[in-house]
C-alpha cells in the first residue's frame, strides 16, 4: 500500500513536525516513535507522563431500547452489570468462541452504548456486528470512527495535567469509568482508561480540536523539559502494554484464539445468558484447554520475538505471541501460548532464537504493576 493511500488521523502533520518516524499500522500512517526514541518515551510514561494519539481506534455507537441486550449477545462480558458512566473490557466472539476483536464497552445510558475497537479491525468489526444485527434488535448501530479523535495522556502526572484544563473532578472518576465534560473548552468524553499499565485518561473529542488538545497537553506537561511529558509512538505503546501484560489483537488475540486461552476468563460471563460463541466456550471450559497464554522472561542473553518457537525438554510446544526488551524492567520478556501444564511460574523453557535455544522461565503476569 503506498503512503498516500494510508489513512491519517487529524494529528498526522503534528506527528511529522515532531519528528515522528511514520509507519503503516493496520492501514494507518502512524508514528512508531518520535525524536526521543522508544526507550525514553517508555520510561517517561512510567515516571512522568506520555501522550499518545490513538485517534485511529474505531468508535461504534449503539442506540435504542435494545442496545444492552444486543451488545450482550455479541460480546462476552455482562453488559447488564454496567452503570451509566462505566466502561468494561470485553471481546466480540465468533461461533467457535474465537476472538473477532477485543473492545471497550461504554455505557452512556440505558439506551446508549459506545464500542471502542481496534484500528485495523474497525471495518471488519462493523461488518461483523452489522451481520448479526437486525431491526428486531430494536437499536441502531453507527460507525462513528471519523467523528472522534482520541488522545491518551498516561502516567503518574496525567491527572494533574488534565485537571488544569477541565472542571470535571478527575479524582472522582474511578478506573474504567468516564465522564462527559469540557477539556480546554472542547466538548469531550474523559475516560480513566489506558493501555500502558499506568494511571491515565483517554480523551475523545471532535477531530477538529485534536491539534489544540494535543498541543495543550504538551505545554501543560512540560514537553521539552527534563522530566516533562513526551509524545509516545506505537513502539512505546507496545512495550508499555507488554510490560503490563495487556493483550494485542493479532498477537495474543485472534479469530482462532478463545478468551480462555488468552487468560480472559474474567471477561467471559457464561452465566449471563446466550451470546455468540457461548456454546463453544462452555464446551472448552468443560473439556479443558490445550494451550494457554503465559508470561516469560529470558534467563540467558537474547530477545524473544513474535512467532519464535518455544521448547520444553527439547520438544517444540509453544509459540511466542509478543516478545521484546522491557525498557522499564530492563529484562527481555514475552508472552507465549504453552500447554497448560507448562504455564506455572518457575517452569523452565527455551526460546528458539534464530536456531539457538535460549533459556527463559515462566513468570507471573503482569510483569509490571504500578505502585498505588
Amino acid at each position: 500500500m503506498s503512503e498516500n493511500e494510508l489513512k491519517r488521523t487529524a494529528l498526522n502533520e503534528v506527528h511529522r513536525a515532531l519528528g515522528g518516524k511514520m509507519v503503516d499500522f493496520g492501514g494507518w500512517d502512524m508514528p512508531v516513535q518520535y525524536k526521543a526514541g522508544v526507550i525514553d518515551e517508555h520510561l517517561r510514561c512510567r515516571t512522568s507522563s506520555g501522550l499518545f494519539d490513538v485517534s485511529h481506534m474505531g468508535e461504534i455507537w449503539v442506540a435504542g431500547p435494545g442496545s444492552i441486550a444486543f451488545v450482550n449477545r455479541i460480546t462476552t462480558n455482562d453488559v447488564t452489570k454496567l452503570v451509566d458512566g462505566q466502561a468494561h473490557y470485553s471481546a466480540l466472539t465468533n461461533e467457535k468462541g474465537g476472538i473477532v476483536d477485543d473492545l471497550l464497552v461504554y455505557r452512556f445510558g440505558e439506551e446508549k452504548l459506545l464500542l471502542v475497537v481496534n484500528a485495523g479491525t474497525t471495518d471488519k468489526d462493523f461488518a461483523w456486528i452489522s451481520s448479526h444485527h437486525s431491526t428486531a434488535d430494536n437499536c441502531t448501530i453507527e460507525n462513528a470512527s471519523s467523528k472522534f479523535c482520541q488522545i491518551a495522556v498516561q502516567g503518574p502526572n496525567a491527572l494533574k495535567i488534565l485537571q488544569q484544563i477541565t472542571e470535571t473532578p478527575l479524582e472522582a472518576i474511578s478506573y474504567y469509568h468516564f465522564s462527559e465534560g469540557s477539556v480546554d473548552g472542547v466538548e469531550a468524553i474523559i475516560s480513566r482508561t489506558g493501555y500502558t499499565g499506568e494511571d491515565g485518561f483517554e480523551v475523545y473529542a471532535d477531530p477538529q480540536y485534536a491539534e489544540q488538545l494535543w498541543n495543550k497537553f504538551l505545554d501543560l506537561g512540560g514537553f521539552g523539559s527534563d522530566a516533562g511529558i513526551l509524545p509516545c509512538g506505537l513502539a512505546a505503546r507496545n512495550t508499555l502494554r507488554l510490560e503490563a501484560a495487556m493483550s494485542l489483537y493479532g498477537h495474543e488475540l485472534g479469530d482462532d484464539i478463545t478468551p480462555y486461552e488468552a487468560n480472559l476468563g474474567w471477561i467471559t460471563k457464561l452465566a449471563k445468558g446466550d451470546f455468540i460463541g457461548r456454546q463453544a466456550l462452555a464446551e472448552q471450559k468443560e473439556a479443558g484447554l490445550q494451550r494457554k497464554l503465559a508470561g516469560f522472561e529470558m534467563t540467558e542473553p537474547g530477545i524473544a520475538r513474535d512467532g519464535f518457537d518455544v521448547y520444553v525438554d527439547d520438544e517444540k510446544c509453544g509459540l511466542v505471541t509478543s516478545g521484546s526488551p522491557a525498557p522499564y524492567l530492563k529484562k527481555n520478556i514475552g508472552l507465549a501460548f504453552l500447554p497448560p501444564a507448562f504455564t506455572t511460574a518457575g517452569q523452565e523453557i527455551k526460546i528458539d532464537i534464530r536456531g539457538r535455544k535460549v533459556g527463559a522461565v515462566v513468570v507471573p503476569t503482569p510483569f509490571y504493576k504500578r505502585q498505588k
Partner: protein
Amino acid sequence: MSNIPENLRYSKDHEWIAVNGDVATIGITDYAQHSLGDVVYVDLPRVGDKFDTHESFGSVESVKAVSEIFTPLGGEVTEVNDGLNDAPESVNGDPYSAGWMIKMKMANSGEADALLSAAEYEEYLEASA
C-alpha cells in the same frame, strides 16, 4: 543528515571499516544506528572465528527489530567489543568510536580497496533515500 567520517571506508550494508595495516575495525554507521532506533543487544562472534566476505557475523537488536550484520570483508576475528554487552547503547551514541564491534585480520587486504569512500557512501545513501 548522517555523520559520515572522511577517514573511514563503508559497505552498502551500512558498516564502517577502519583499516590499519592488515587489521580492519568494523562497526555500523550513524545512518544504520538511526534507522534501527535504540539498540538494546548486540550479538557478536568469538575471537578466532573466521568469516568470508558478506557473511552474517552477528546481529544488532533494537527494541523493535533485529538486524543481521555482515562482514564487509573476509578474515579472522582478533578482537570483539565486550563493552557492548553492558552498554549496547554506545552503538547509538557513539557509533564510530565506543560502538565499534569487531576487529578482523583481513584475509586479503586488497578487499579494503573495493569498499566505498565517505563520498561514495554519502552518494549511495542519497540514491537509496
